[in-house]
Amino acid sequence: MTDRVARLRKISTETTPTISMERAKYFTEAYKKWEGSVSVPEMRALALRHYMEHRTLYIEPGELIVGEKGDRPQAAPTFPELCCHTVEDLKIMNDREIIFFKNTEEQRKWHEEEVIPYWENRSIRHRILEAMSDEWRDAYAAGIFTEFMEQRGPGHTVCSDKIYNKGFSDYKRDIAEAISKLDYRHDPEAYRRREELSAMSIACDAIITLGRRYGELALSLAESETDEDRKADLLRIAENCSVVPEFAPQTFHQALQMYWFVHLCVTSELNPWDAYSPGRLDQHVYPFYRRDVEAGILDRDGALELLECLWVKFNNQPAPPKVGVTLKESGTYTDFANINTGGITPDGEDGVNPVSYLILDCMDEMKLLQPSSNVQISRKTPNKFLLRACEIASKGWGQPAFYNTEAIIQELLGAGKSLADARRGGTSGCVETGAFGNEAYILTGYFNIPKILELTLYNGYDHYTGKKIGLSLGEPEDFDSYEKLYSAFCRQMEHFIDIKITGSAKIERIYADYMPVPFLSIITNDCIATGKDYNAGGARYNTSYIQGVGIGTITDSLSSIKHHVYENGDFTLRELTDAMEANFVGYEDMYHTIRTATPFYGNDDDRADDIMKEVFDFYQRTVTGCPNVRGGEYRVNMLPTTCHVYFGEVMTSSPNGRLAGKPVSEGISPDKGADTHGPTAVIRSCAKMDHLRTGGTLLNQKFTPAVLAGENGKKNLAALIRSYFAMDGHHIQFNVIDRQTLLDAQAHPEEYRDLIVRVAGYSDHFRNLSRALQDEIIERTEQSFE
């Protein structure tokens, strides 16, 4: 790592996160000025342009890629039109011990006087919560599901190679051409399309303005710079900004800067989930790398330094500050920009190139939370690349995660994408599959599968809210067979999925009508061609995901009931529900029987794994294919982020012996302590789920360092990954830390400030995790050689 990068990295990791009010200021000004006099999309674009014309710029000494989302590194803008924080929210953000965002009394006062009066009753969040039915509210309050769109915009979208071939002046021409082709006589939507296209054109001006202003700033800094080397850097930055984003990039350096300007505009326009991601970065920028190297203007070390400067930029942007349930869903600064390296090319060839190895080196040297870096492993991926990735993974900070290229492609093909689009696809956020550049694949919320069983066992009554919120399908005595109970569970699940999707239909409509994203639409195919916004179905593919959580807990719970109540007669269902209500206090014998004599998921035991398949199939079939508002369909994925902790908090104890309030199982991993037959058995169990019918699954495996030590350790890890992928597994990631280290880190957080662990689809500083999540990670079965 060069001194320059080391310094920038230090600033990035040591700067205190703050709130920046600038975006709120300029967006509010713009709304006051234009709302009502122009169309909604045009107003949104004008607001973005207004912000880009006036916002503070920032160039840190030494940096080579420029641009910050806020007024300085680690400064998070707010999005009051979406979610208007109260003064109390700001205080909580300021005072929170972890995931804080410092803000001043002066900022809070300004927010109270200028932002709140204008936005509090008209933010999207307000509209959404007003529009929801009572049963939706009850289910939401009970933690049956969460809602992604109440504080952040629809997202999980990823950049294609589009921005490297054209500049935004080219897009302005494309847009003008699309406007000129509008056929008002035959197309009743033509006027609407015109409004949207005109908004896109304004949004092109927004990013062009940002680039020009950075170019001017770099030039003026260069003029007063006394250090000759730095002067040359600044002149290079100025030159880059005179090319991108207005014109297509010509060099590797300009390509990276182009991406970064685009990233800033996408994430300033709205705060979409998972920020934005360059996706298949190695493939997109390799042509520039090759050309520059051949021309003698770039070498390997220079390219690595530029990549590392880009990495710093990602890490400088904390996720937008949230409150309440949404914070619990995702208690982290990480914004999930997830870069895919490797995989295959659009022609189906091995996609690993020299930049792929550079990205691995960059990942290894930087060890930063952001961006999330993963590798796509295909049958064609060379072992050299896989082993290098395993070497980094074995260092134990959770990156890279491993994704199965063939599975991703089959998932995309199964969801109706073309082969060409599927091969350009990958995963974003945690593990979500998408057709990069062509798809709006929106996560709508997590779904608490184990809680459905809890409600079924208590005849619809919810202990957490003290309300009857589910269907009344019978008392425990009424279920005289496992099949009866299981079918009641299925009916209950269908009921809540129905509530969830009904609510989401309204929410998607609200976004389509009131919160278009013309900038993101420019770079998402085929929004220009159709003249439709990304949030209104303009993308080529439009998917809505509901993320199932707790498959391990629900499987073990049903297995426990089937095995002990209906097969062995160890106790009755009523005795079990009584024990659950008592949190098994006074029922130690029953607890012991359940914990030691139940077939549990994660042991390659079909008695349990068949139940998992059945539950997954029902959930998957119930959700998949439901139409969404944007002309696409619902699909499922199986990932928790940190929501399995929250979902556990809203539940009593479970029939599998999970105690009240404790986390449910995460991803598709077995429940805590359930798997006792080692990693191959876990992988076999997990692979029995049909991953190809999902939009992504998440499997976490924790190893002690010893397991992965040496050349053989890495080879075995690689074999484990290849085997899982041959079984169609979607994703696997590794934590390589021993239990003792984690316990010590919990007791002495100050001594482990650097400790990063893989949480779910991302890594985080251990010290920034809640105690409950820390405990959960410590308790996850530690796979080892013993």
């Binding site: 130690e588 030691t596 004599a597 191959t680 058995a681 053989n712 075995n716 484990l720």
Partner: protein, 311 residues
């Protein structure tokens, strides 16, 4: 042929018993009595109860569960098991709230063993692994049972390693050879007198079998446990890697064709197992890194290569 064999463990994702990712099948019963044995629960051919008394929570359920009346509560509130009465029937195992009890040994048929081993075929193929038959002493088992198992695994296309002490009639080794990919062949000591003292038997048969296996073209990994001195009353008056020991080993390996020599440093898992089996624990110590380096270097100078630490 016997229908079942006593198996005390089948460990999946085993990566220390040969190449790649393997499943190791541990057979009960061994003709040797190595002082440092790390799997003492596998020494006997019969099942045996393991009881980790330090985990006992004093629930007393084992007392009423025992048909032989072997369990009682001690004044300290913990259960004690009278080994003279205990038949290792295992009835107390599921009753124990502290999960402090287990029985080492389950009768398994060939089909059962094969079914478990086949589960991880994908991992073997990706890693160049397979199944390792170990123990106890796998070669001390019923030959027909063993051949039946080996033929079944061979039929599934699974590569098999045999981990053996070699103290068996050569005919047995010769009989399994066609189905075995690699023999993991233990040399506890190249010195006959020491071997007798450490393991209860001399090494003449073992070394003779090694020479014959080598002559018959078997693929062999030599495995040498490296033990440093321990408690005085172990009767183990020194490490098994003195200069003399290494010299003898070099001599013994002189005419042998082997693919590698694996040094297996002592670890103390056997010690707490002994306690739980009601056996006298023996404590030794692990060799230092320097010890291992010295052994490797000495062997290398004498032309014994490659030497690796572990598996």
């Amino acid at each position: 042929m016997k229908k079942t064999a006593e198996i005390f463990n089948i460990q999946r994702f085993s990566v220390h018993d040969g190449d790649g990712i393997r499943t190791t099948v541990f057979f009960s019963g061994c003709p040797l009595r190595c002082l440092w044995c790390h799997n003492p629960e596998g020494m006997m051919f019969a099942r045996r109860l393991l009881y980790h008394s330090e985990k006992c929570v004093g629930c007393g359920r084992c007392v009423s569960a025992c048909p032989a009346g072997a369990n009682s509560m001690a004044p300290d509130g913990r259960a004690v098991t009278d080994r003279a009465r205990c038949t290792s029937c295992g009835k107390c195992v599921p009753m124990c709230l502290a999960e402090a009890r287990a029985v080492a040994g389950t009768a398994r048929t060939v089909d059962e063993i094969v079914r478990i081993c086949v589960s991880d075929r994908m991992f073997y193929e990706e890693s160049g692994g397979g199944v390792t038959l170990s123990g106890g002493e796998v070669m001390a088992q019923d030959t027909d049972f063993l051949l039946s198992l080996l033929r079944a695994l061979d039929g599934e296309g699974i590569s098999v390693n045999i981990d053996t002490c070699g103290h068996v009639p050569y005919e047995k080794l010769y009989a399994v050879m066609p189905y075995v990919d690699t023999f993991l062949y233990d040399i506890k000591s190249a010195d006959d007198e020491k071997h007798t003292r450490f393991t209860g038997v001399g090494n003449a048969l073992i070394l003779e079998n090694l020479r014959r296996l080598s002559g018959d073209g078997a693929k062999i990994y030599i495995r040498v446990p490296v033990i440093a001195p321990g408690d005085e009353d172990t009767g183990f008056d020194g490490a098994n890697f003195t200069d003399g020991d290494i010299e003898s080993l070099t001599r013994v390996l002189g005419g042998i064709k082997y693919s590698r020599v694996c040094l297996l440093p002592y670890h103390n898992t056997g010690e707490y197992k002994c306690v739980s089996l009601g056996m006298k624990p023996r404590r030794f110590s692990a060799p230092t890194k320097d010890d291992l380096e010295r052994i490797k270097n000495t062997l290398a100078r004498a032309g014994v290569t490659p030497v690796v630490t572990g598996g």
